[in-house]
């Protein structure tokens, strides 16, 4: 299979506590975003953080996984919404750690019954490369709801 490479960079000025950085998508140029430590561990104030970028990555990874599993089961989805929440916490003796990622999915899948949909969601969670990676160190949970219309 082909290797796919994606790049990003950040330029950081000064210390963590008082400095700030700009994180850029090098591969695609699709974003250039300011980032600070205060926005990461306190109130975000409209500034992104590594954990928000991971939430976006996990939601995107999960939705593509769900779509492909449903198609494999013969019930291609019409529309899916996936919301992801990544939690970072202070762990005694270890400092800040990413402890959890929760995925909440809603989907309109015209031909799917509840059982087939649940099977697709379970397969999506098992097969999503990002879920597999962070499950080694954090708790990954999901809920999936089959809807008539989203």
């Amino acid at each position: 299979m082909p290797r796919i490479v994606r790049e990003a960079e950040i330029d950081w000025e000064g210390t963590t506590a008082r400095g700030n950085g700009v994180v850029r998508a090098v591969s695609t140029g699709s974003f250039a975003l300011p980032s600070t430590i205060a926005a990461r561990v306190e109130i975000h104030q409209g500034t992104t953080s590594p954990e928000e970028l991971l939430a976006a990555a996990h939601a995107t990874c999960w939705v593509t996984s769900l779509g492909s599993e449903l198609a494999r089961l013969g019930v291609p989805p019409q529309r899916m919404h996936v919301h992801c929440t990544v939690t970072m916490d202070e762990v005694e003796g270890a400092g800040h750690r990413i402890v959890a990622s929760h995925v909440a999915a809603r989907a309109v899948v015209p031909d799917a019954d509840q059982e087939t949909f649940a099977e697709g969601a379970a397969a999506a969670d098992a097969g999503c490369p990002f879920s597999a990676l962070i499950r080694a160190s954090a708790t990954v949970t999901y809920e999936a709801t089959l809807e008539k219309e989203v």
Partner: protein, 142 residues
């Protein structure tokens, strides 16, 4: 404790459909379009989970390194960090390459290398992604 959220909507199948990272909790970015072909083949200006992971890791590493250097009494003037994530469809994320070019007044090469290795080992994104088969670091002091 800090929760950060993101929302994605997708229409249609994996191969022929398309998605959008509609919004994130901070409002800092979005909407960003995503498709399977732009993830697995040429990006054509569209982001992907792997690019977002690269951005998250670069940002996390730079904060951890900057913090470590300040704690050692040699705060950095400037850090330029790159992260490259390699994804193999069917296998998963196989490699992350971190690289940093730093301006740190008053530090020697050994102390800088140790701080950079420490940031690579301990930043929260590194520990969350510790099961990636290979994470490399190139650290250079200017």
């Amino acid at each position: 404790m800090a929760d950060r959220t993101a929302h994605v909507s997708w229409s249609g199948s994996l191969m022929d459909g398309a998605g959008t990272i509609t919004s994130v909790g901070s409002g800092a970015f979005g909407p960003l379009d995503v498709t399977w072909s732009s993830r697995a083949e040429e990006s054509e200006g569209r982001t992907s989970p792997e690019e977002l992971i690269a951005a998250a890791h670069a940002a996390c590493f730079s904060m951890a390194l900057s913090h470590g250097l300040a704690q050692d009494g040699t705060p950095p003037e400037r850090l330029d960090v790159d992260a490259t994530v390699t994804f193999v469809p069917g296998t998963g994320i196989t490699k992350i390459e971190l690289s940093v070019d730093a301006t740190v007044p008053g530090i020697d090469e050994d102390a800088f290398t140790a701080a950079a290795e420490g940031a690579k080992q301990n930043c929260p994104v590194s520990t969350a992604l510790a099961s990636v088969p290979e994470i490399t670091l190139r650290a250079s002091l200017s």
